[in-house]
């Protein structure tokens, strides 16, 4: 309710609120991947909500802070903290066959955020969902699959087919992430600035009209 006065300061340096948001969303992505925390389709399939955390970070924080929160998470993982889905961590994950998906997470969050910021302060469900599909599935697979194929010396086609098992789960995550992001953008207008400067006035008006 009470915004820090520094929030609107024009500066290249991130404000304390930005730092706090990036850190909190990095933690959120980690928590959504905690072992046994939440699993889609019961606990049989090892699908956690971690990649949904990536969608939420991009959808809610915009491209810059969204991608940064994923980078921060990956740095901590590389330093040895077991913050990836299923409690994985350490440098080993960056040398394994699924390393590409992690890089895909960073780019995916950025693409989602960029697309969402094109429309803000409005967040039409179809547009938000499209952004999550393009960034959260398209971009992630686009980086993840070739790296998987290269690391295992298999064909792209085979690697892509193997990744199909995750598609239904990812589709469900898009639906949930879009609904949650929509609720957040209604509840916290102005949490992320739109891309164009002209639009930012509109965001300000909407925020103050609350």
């Amino acid at each position: 309710m009470i915004q820090p006065s520094s929030g609107g300061r024009a500066s290249r340096r991130m404000s304390s609120r930005d730092l706090a948001l990036v850190a909190s969303f990095a933690a959120l992505i980690a928590v959504l991947g905690l072992p046994g925390s939440i699993t889609v389709f019961g606990s049989a399939a090892p699908i956690t909500l971690q990649s949904m955390g990536v969608m939420l970070a991009g959808s809610i924080l915009g491209w810059k802070r969204g991608a940064l929160s994923v980078v921060v998470l990956l740095v901590l993982v590389a330093a040895g903290l077991p913050l990836l889905a299923g409690g994985r961590g350490g440098l080993a994950v960056f040398f394994g066959p699924t390393a590409g998906y992690l890089i895909g997470f960073v780019l995916g969050a950025a693409v989602i955020g960029w697309l969402v910021q094109q429309r803000l302060p409005a967040y039409p469900l179809w547009w938000g969902g499209l952004a999550n599909v393009v960034g959260g599935i398209g971009v992630v697979y686009l980086v993840g699959i070739p790296v998987l194929a290269a690391a295992t010396s298999t064909s792209l086609w085979l690697a892509a087919t193997g990744s199909l098992v995750f598609l239904p789960g990812d589709a469900l995550k898009v639906v949930i992430a879009t609904a949650v992001a929509s609720a957040v953008h209604r509840g916290y207008p102005g949490i992320t600035a739109p891309t164009a400067a002209v639009k930012s006035d509109r965001a300000g008006e909407q925020a103050s009209a609350r």
């Binding site: 730092l19 928590v31 905690l34 330093a79 040895g80 903290l81 040398f95 066959p97 949930i176």
Partner: protein, 199 residues
């Protein structure tokens, strides 16, 4: 929850600098991938196994580090063997396993804080383009601090969902967690400002 995979010890491996270990890992895995042959895999494996021994880690620890790869190995090995011959199969699968074992070893023998210090040092030249290593370090520390807090909100939200009889709704779980994450961030941002972060 936030215990890293680091295992304390006093071996030469533990005592050598984090930067040196990272550099060594980089060189090692690059050479391994460049050769990608059964012989390189054998030599690499011997080296890594020897280093595990040097660090005081037994074969069981080594196996545990590559255990997450078991499905890949089980699927990939027969497939490559059948399509490309045993040499390729051993080279591809072996390179993957040995590289992962090597990377895991660095994490086993190096403190999280030491690795984070390396990051801060590597970022030092980035000052010129407006990256402040001190703020990066703060961001990483803030995140480590935030994980147990956000995990706490997850448990609360799960209880609340159960109390309302909405066990099956993922949305009823995720929405409150995200809202609380933002609220937590607002408070942390305010506390940081009060402690002079923006000054």
């Amino acid at each position: 929850m936030l215990t890293s995979t680091f295992r304390p010890g006093a071996s030469l491996l533990h005592r050598s600098g984090a930067g040196a270990k990272l550099l060594g890992l980089l060189v090692f895995s690059t050479v391994l991938v460049a050769f990608q042959s059964p012989l390189a895999v054998l030599a690499g494996f011997a080296l890594v196994a020897g280093l595990y021994g040097l660090g005081g880690f037994g074969p069981r620890t080594l196996v545990a580090q590559v255990w997450p790869l078991r499905w890949f190995v089980l699927c990939l090995l027969p497939f490559q063997w059948w399509t490309a011959g045993w040499q390729v199969a051993v080279a591809v699968v072996g390179t993957l396993v040995v590289a992962v074992a090597g990377a895991a070893l660095v994490t086993l023998a190096t403190r999280v804080t030491d690795l984070l210090d390396v990051i801060a040092r590597v970022l030092e030249p980035a000052r010129a383009v407006g990256v402040d290593p001190e703020r990066v370090a703060l961001l990483l520390a803030l995140t480590i601090r935030a994980v147990p807090v956000i995990a706490g909100t997850l448990h609360e939200a799960r209880d609340a969902r159960r109390a309302r009889g909405l066990e099956r709704s993922t949305r009823a779980l995720v929405t409150p967690i995200v809202v609380r994450t933002i609220r937590h961030a607002d408070r942390v941002g305010e506390a940081l400002a009060a402690r002079g972060i923006d000054d």
